[in-house]
């Protein structure tokens, strides 16, 4: 340590600079030490502090998909809330990592992070990875995304919001409402993404109340559903159009491509429910390109309340997650686990979203 070299005492400096027992010392001594420390540009060594105290005071925030506004806001909110209660955080953007998830986890454990928050977890991040944290006693809480063993998930629930949006569309006079989604109906219920289940359930509930619903794949849709039977114009109908899930991983702009195809057909649906605002913008870009008037010819809705949707020219109906609420809950659970590792935790904890009705969702 430098401070005492330059002056007098030894770990007196530690007391004074550490702040804990600073009051026990004479003002003169304290001042002297502080001055010297400043002059010598002294900074405590974090590694040494961690080693002694045994605590790092660090929570890792592992996140995916910085491309989505709502996801960014969640990460930011997590970080800010952690800071507010005095924790430091270590932000890990999984998009920045070229594979080697194992090495990352080793690093985090080696850094002695005390807890882990994972937002919008993706399939690369598996049960066995969470397990590594679990083995060394580091609690993990998931924020939006999917469930994993040995971790609690706090997530927004799209069910009610999608139901309300669908209701709204039918109420506005739309007859045929299309929900575009990636394909998971071929998997067993338990293997379908949570969010997928929520969207489909909410949609179905509304459709059943107003009319009927079907679920079809993309090819089947174009082969059998179009052109629409014109028999009963007053019949209300919901259609879930499943695109190949790989399209979402591999193909750039999957919804845009689908809509280009759709909008070149002679008969259109009245409204399209998109998975989120980013995809809603893809639909709108396709509509503009094809000369389809929004919302006159087709209404579009999204999810997430992106900035882009706030322009009246796009202005689609959407839903907003309770970001503060989700983050607060997740951190609360993590803190509980930190204090009492054995606390029984729910597997999932859902928080509803708020619907935002905008003009592009309704007939003008």
């Amino acid at each position: 340590m430098v401070a005492e070299q330059a002056e007098v005492s030894r770990e007196t400096a530690s007391h004074i600079l550490g702040g804990k027992r600073a009051d026990r010392y004479k003002d003169s001594t304290r001042k002297r030490v502080e001055d010297i420390a400043r002059a010598l540009n002294y900074r405590p060594h974090r590694g040494a502090q961690m080693m002694k105290s045994g605590r790092s005071n660090i929570i890792a925030i592992i996140h995916f998909g910085a491309g989505i506004e709502a996801a960014r806001k969640i990460n930011q909110t997590l970080a800010q809330q952690l800071q507010k209660i005095g924790y430091d955080y270590l932000a890990i953007d999984m998009n920045w990592h070229d594979g080697n998830l194992d090495r990352l986890i080793e690093t985090l454990i080696g850094s002695r992070v005390e807890g882990v928050l994972i937002s919008h977890i993706q399939t690369i991040f598996k049960d066995e990875h969470i397990e590594k944290f679990y083995h060394v006693g580091i609690p993990v809480v998931l924020v939006n995304g999917e469930t994993r063993r040995h971790a609690t998930l706090v997530s927004s629930d799209a069910t009610d919001a999608i139901e309300a949006i669908t209701d709204h569309l039918f109420t506005c006079g739309h007859r045929r409402v299309l929900q575009i989604i990636d394909r998971f109906s071929h998997l067993a219920e338990a293997h379908r993404p949570l969010n997928w289940n929520q969207r489909v359930t909410g949609f179905q509930r509304s459709c059943e109340r107003h009319g009927s619903w079907t679920i079809v794949g993309e090819e089947e849709f174009f082969a059998k559903c179009l052109p629409w039977p014109t028999a009963s114009p007053e019949k209300l109908e919901g259609i879930i159009l499943e695109q190949n899930a790989e399209d979402y991983a591999i193909v750039d702009k999957p919804v845009y491509r689908l809509c280009l195809r759709l909008f070149s057909q002679p008969s259109l649906p009245d409204a399209i429910i998109c998975r989120n605002d980013m995809y809603a913008m893809e639909a709108i870009a396709a509509a503009l390109e094809c000369g389809v008037a929004i919302p006159h010819d087709v209404a579009i809705t999204g999810y997430d309340n992106d900035r882009m949707g706030t322009f009246p020219a796009f202005g689609f109906t959407t839903a907003e997650q309770d970001i503060e609420g989700i983050c607060a809950k997740a951190i609360h659970l993590l803190l509980q686990l930190l204090k009492a590792p054995q606390t029984p935790m729910p597997e999932t904890l859902f928080i509803p979203s708020r619907v935002i009705i905008r003009n592009a969702g309704s007939r003008p």
Copy 2:
């Protein structure tokens, strides 16, 4: 250390697990130690390692504005390139920090980061903050943004790109080209943002070659420039419209608002050059709202090559930064500084951007 407790030797474990002198040991010993370590879930303590070796192997990446795609890509590229050469990184999103920049810097110094990369530095981050790193011998390299004392800046250069874009617009037959920008002409040359200078210079160069240019504030523009004098229709003219710089900080969607006002005028410019693709989208949103046809009535151009601009419906001319090149250069300089702290460094190092011509920039 756990491994030896369970088995035999003591710092033999360190050698074997550390990997350095592992070859010196008998296979049997090695295997035994490794097995035990695995069984006991041993992870070296990063703090302790750092303390001993005196090196952290960590570079901090401090970044702003995750809302802009190009900025995100730069941060990601920096991180990946650092990893490739064996460094760990610590990502700091300044948007996540509620003030308290001093505390952040203390933390970083305490973490013994070996170097700092700051991308898209903003005004809150001042010379004196950089100085703190400088005092303790941590080199700082800036990536895009502004210059600071004791730091080298590696940045894209917009000059040539803006000149080429302006040239292109004039060549396409546009007469009156408007560049929208925030106001800095009232400051002395040295205090204007680098990027501002580049944009204005590139624009002026092109205008001087094709005709003339003027620079006006927003109010002055609406009071004096409109409606356009119709005297000489073949005269080519560039106008730099300066909005109040505070608008960009305080007002949401400054370009959108300006364009709403502009598009309600009886006579329009032929083309509008926006600061980046995000603002270009604001202009487009305003155009759609006002029934102004893009690019027929007004052509729009941006900068940064965002995803949104790749849809044909928006498809504005833009420019793409050489992100790989910028990052490689920045890291190269940082490494030099790490090896030889006294290496003389240039104050700034500019890397040109590549122009991408798209339909919305030209008359159809």
